[in-house]
Amino acid sequence: MSEPLLQAVDLECERDERLLFQNLSFSIVPGTLTRVEGPNGSGKTTLLRILAGLNDAWSGDILWCGQPRGHDRESFHRNTLYLGHRPGIKPLLTPMENLRALMAGRRPVNDEVLAQALAGTGLAGYEHVPCRNLSAGQQRRVALARLLIADEPLWLLDEVFTAIDADGVQAIETLLKQRAAEGGAILVTTHHDLQVEGMGRITLGGGQCDE
C-alpha cells in the first residue's frame, strides 16, 4: 500500500460546547474511496472542513505527506479539491465565468477544456446563461464540472449528490470509482446509498472509527 496522503491523528473537535469527536485517527491513501458516515449533526461536514483547512477549531494533528499540514499549506491547497454544501457559484455569472474564476488561482486552464467539462456535466448550451437562471441541480453541476478537470490527488466532497438527478448520481458514482482506481484519494459524506467495493468508512457519532 502506498504512503498516505493525509493523516489525522487524535483529532478532537468541540462545537457549541458539544464534543463532536475525539481520538479520531485515520489515514487517507491514494487509490481509495472513503465515506464519512453518521447521523445528522454528528460532525461530518465539520470534519471535512477541518481536513480541507477551513475550520481551525480542532486539536490533534493533521499530516500532509507525513509532515504537519501547516508546513506547506500552499502545496496542500494546490493538491486538494474541496466541494462544500455551498456550491461556490456566483448566481450573476455564467457557468463558464464561474468555472474560470474557480480555476484561475489554481492552474491555467483554457476555455475549451472548461467547455468540455461543462458539456460533460450536461450543461452544454448553458455555458453563457447566468447561473441564477439555472436550477439548483444545474448550479451544482457547474461546481461538479470541476471534478472532470481536477488534477488534485485528494478530493473532499461534502454531500455531492444533493439536488442531482438519478442519471447524474450514476455518473458521479462512476467518476468517483474511476478516479479511485486511477489512484486518487477521495473522502465523501453522503446520505445517498453509495456502494463501492473496498470502500473505507469513518463513522462519526458513535465515537469509533474503523478503516
Partner: protein, 241 residues
C-alpha cells in the same frame, strides 16, 4: 516537499502566480458588481443625498457651507463607505465562493487585497469623482475642491482597507451591521480628522504637504497591514461557520 514519495503531488510552482490570481479575483468582483448595478448606486446616492440635505436641514448660508462643506463631504463619504462594507464578503460567504477563495493555493492576504481594491474602485473612487460637483454645490473654492478630492483619493482606500478587517471579523454574525460600525468608526476617526484638517489648512493658506504626507502614511500602513489582519479575521470567521 518529499514529492519523490508521492508522484501524485503537483508542485505549486506549476500553478498560477499570485499576481494573475489577484487579477482574476479583481476581475470577477468587478464583473459581478456591474451585473448588479443598483448595489453600485446605493453608496453614491447616499453620498449625494446627505450632502444635499445638509444645507436644507442646517443652513443654506454661504459662510456656513464654505466653512463646513469639506467636513460634510468627508463624513458623508465615510458613512457611505461604511454602508457598503457589509457587501465586501457577505455575498461571497453566502454562495460559497469565499470558501473556495480561502482554499486557493495562494497567499490569502493578496487575494483579499485584490478584493478590497475592487471594493474601493467600485465605491470609493466614484465618490471621489462626484466630489467636485458636490464641492461646488457647497460653495467650496477651486483650490479647496482640489485638495478635498486629493484627501478623499488618499483617504477612501484607507477606509476600504480598514473596513475589510471589520467586515471579515463580523462575517459569521447575524446582525453584523451595528457591530461593524462600532468596531470600525474609531479607526476611521484619525483619517477623518486629517482629511478635513488638510482642507481647513488649505483654506487658511497654510502648507498642506505635512497633512498629505501623514495621510499617505495612513495609506501605506493600511495597505501593508490591513490585508494580513483581514486574512486572519476571515479564517476565524470561516472556522465558526
Amino acid at each position: 516537499m518529499n514529492s519523490s514519495a508521492h508522484p501524485l503531488i503537483k508542485p505549486v510552482e506549476q500553478g498560477v502566480g499570485p499576481l494573475s490570481a489577484m487579477v482574476a479575483v479583481f476581475a470577477r468582483d468587478v464583473r459581478v458588481a456591474f451585473r448588479q448595478r443598483q448595489d453600485l448606486l446605493n453608496p453614491l446616492l447616499f453620498f449625494v443625498m446627505v450632502v444635499t440635505l445638509f444645507p436644507l436641514g442646517v443652513s443654506p448660508e454661504i459662510g456656513f457651507l464654505k466653512q463646513s462643506g469639506a467636513g460634510i463631504l468627508w463624513v458623508a463619504a465615510l458613512l457611505s463607505v461604511l454602508l457598503s462594507l457589509d457587501h465586501l464578503f457577505r455575498h461571497d460567504f453566502d454562495d460559497g465562493t469565499l470558501e473556495q477563495l480561502v482554499l486557493q493555493p495562494q497567499p490569502l492576504f493578496l487575494l483579499i487585497l485584490a478584493k478590497t481594491l475592487a471594493h474601493w474602485m467600485l465605491t470609493g473612487l466614484p465618490l471621489v469623482v462626484l466630489t467636485p460637483v458636490l464641492g461646488v454645490m457647497v460653495h467650496l473654492d477651486g483650490n479647496s475642491v482640489a485638495i478635498l478630492c486629493l484627501t478623499l483619493l488618499i483617504g477612501t482606500p484607507v477606509l476600504s482597507l480598514i473596513g475589510s478587517i471589520g467586515a471579515a471579523l463580523t462575517l459569521g454574525l447575524r446582525s453584523a451591521g451595528v457591530l461593524l460600525s462600532l468596531l470600525i468608526i474609531p479607526l476611521y476617526i484619525p483619517v477623518l480628522i486629517f482629511g478635513t484638517g488638510t482642507v481647513a489648512a488649505a483654506a487658511e493658506g497654510a502648507p498642506v504637504a505635512g497633512y498629505l504626507a501623514l495621510m499617505g502614511a495612513f495609506l501605506v500602513l493600511a495597505l501593508t497591514l490591513a490585508p494580513f489582519a483581514s486574512a486572519a479575521a476571515l479564517r476565524i470567521s470561516m472556522s465558526n461557520s
